[in-house]
């Protein structure tokens, strides 16, 4: 079996402790949360941190709570916590859609929201979910906190806005009336990374889409939010024609590549198809339908 290279290991006892350790060790150190992205990379010796800071004891980062006009999710919330959350099910069913098809149940017992976002894999699903929901990321350092919107969080494939002396501690999602959301993913097999995923969220008032967003995964070097899609949704009346049009806009605004999961043409088609399906479900949900 493949095994990691030698490392040093320490358990952080608090966020402050974790950040202090990280600042001290610099770029040779990595936080380890669920470990399901990092450890396989270490076994392949594609990631070779000298120092691992285990943040699994940071109870202060395990929460999903409503806080005024936001839902706040601690970065150590595990996939399974997101899947089991009544609060998320009520406000953002897109999480349930996505979490049912992220990796497998055993991996979901360990993998975390923060770890997923920080891995910044272009095919990663929660980034697309958070993008659709217009979430923002709370990044903490010894200096304090800064809040970065999703579209600024990923700065490239496998790269985020989080610096060596910082830590992603929370994700915030705005709570607005008339919301509905949904997620669609095509995978070659259960547990596989997405061929393409599309998330959609809409906020509807008096039959008009006040705001709407699309988040995609596995369609290019970065998980994009499709601004032209958001523009087309804003102020529109929901209809099959609209979903179709926005699907086409999404397809025209991403650049998937041919790989083992599929051809670029197929992926482009999927963006259109899955965006349309996600929007249809999101709108239905915003109107209180159980779909």
């Amino acid at each position: 079996m493949q095994v990691p290279a030698p490392i040093e290991y320490e358990r952080a006892t608090s966020v402050a402790h974790a950040i202090a350790l990280r600042s001290q060790k610099g770029d040779e150190a990595r936080f380890i949360a669920g470990g399901h992205s990092l450890l396989p990379m270490m076994k392949l010796r594609l990631a070779n941190p000298k120092y691992l800071i285990d943040i699994n004891d940071l109870e202060e980062l395990f929460y999903i709570r409503e806080n005024g006009s936001e839902v706040c999710i601690g970065a150590m919330s595990r996939h399974r916590d997101l899947l089991d959350s009544d609060l998320l099910a009520k406000h953002f069913p897109i999480f349930l859609d996505a979490e049912r098809v992220i990796a497998d149940p055993t991996v979901r017992n360990r993998g975390t929201l923060g770890g997923s976002l920080c891995q910044a894999d272009p095919a990663e699903d929660l980034s697309a979910v958070c993008t659709a929901l217009d979430a923002s990321c709370v990044i903490t350092s010894s200096e304090g906190q800064r809040v970065v919107p999703m579209h600024d969080f990923h700065v490239g494939p496998y790269e985020t806005a989080v610096q060596d002396n910082e830590m992603l501690t929370e994700v915030r999602i705005p709570l607005r009336p008339g919301g509905g959301s949904a997620y669609q993913k095509v995978e070659r097999r259960a547990g596989d990374w997405a061929v393409v995923s599309a998330g959609a969220a809409v906020w509807i008032d008096s039959g008009i889409i006040v705001d709407g967003r699309v988040g995609l995964a596995a369609v290019g070097s970065n998980t994009p939010s499709i601004e032209p899609a958001a523009e087309a949704l804003k102020g529109a009346t929901p209809s099959e024609d609209l979903f179709q049009r926005v699907g086409e806009i999404a397809a025209n605004n991403c650049s998937p590549e041919t790989d083992g999961r599929g051809t670029a043409a197929y992926k482009t088609h999927l963006v259109q198809e899955l965006t349309r399906r996600a929007l249809r479900t999101a709108v239905a949900r915003s109107q209180g339908q159980e779909v």
């Binding site: 493949q2 095994v3 450890l39 497998d104 149940p105 055993t106 259960a190």
Partner: protein, 161 residues
């Protein structure tokens, strides 16, 4: 470094390298070879153990990370000479052939029944979907778990709760 944890109800206190994977710690250091490994990428699930009652792929955890936690391996399923109904179910329903994925499958099944005593076929299939069996085609594994659900006793809950 030192690591302390509970394995199948017994305290263990061992010297390890920080990079040691939990699966190797369990197999090579504790000699509990019922836990297997079948891939390097967290895909096959033959290495599943329970950590605090939850199925976890032990090839993708450092032994150090399990410190302070309760680990249950296949060797912990039989309590005082009484088989877990899951074990009995796998025998009764031909839920195993080569036996390599079986320990992981049984532990996931145990955790499932602890949280959901009467799972549907769909729920069972979902629960074991992170684990690969190359021999059985899964139907008999599903039946084995259903058999166990039908024969659940209080004894079985001890081993993993």
């Amino acid at each position: 470094m030192q690591v302390n944890m509970t394995v199948n109800g017994a305290e263990v206190n061992e010297e390890i390298e920080p990079r040691h994977l939990l699966v190797h710690f369990i197999r090579d250091q504790l000699g509990l070879t019922g836990t297997h490994w079948g891939c390097d990428t967290s895909n096959c699930g033959t290495c599943v153990v329970l950590i605090d009652g939850e199925p976890v792929k032990s090839c993708t955890q450092l032994a150090a990370m399990a410190g302070g936690h309760e680990v249950t391996t296949v060797e912990g399923l039989e309590v005082d000479g009484v088989l877990d109904p899951i074990q009995e179910g796998f025998m009764q329903c031909h839920g195993l052939q080569c036996g390599f994925c079986t320990p992981g499958m049984m532990l996931t099944a145990r955790a499932l029944l602890n949280s959901n005593p009467n799972p549907t076929e769909e729920v069972i299939r979902e629960a074991i979907s992170g684990q690969i069996c190359r021999c059985t085609g899964y139907s008999t594994i599903v039946r084995s778990i259903q058999w166990a659900a039908d024969h659940e006793t209080n004894v079985s809950l001890r081993s993993a709760s």
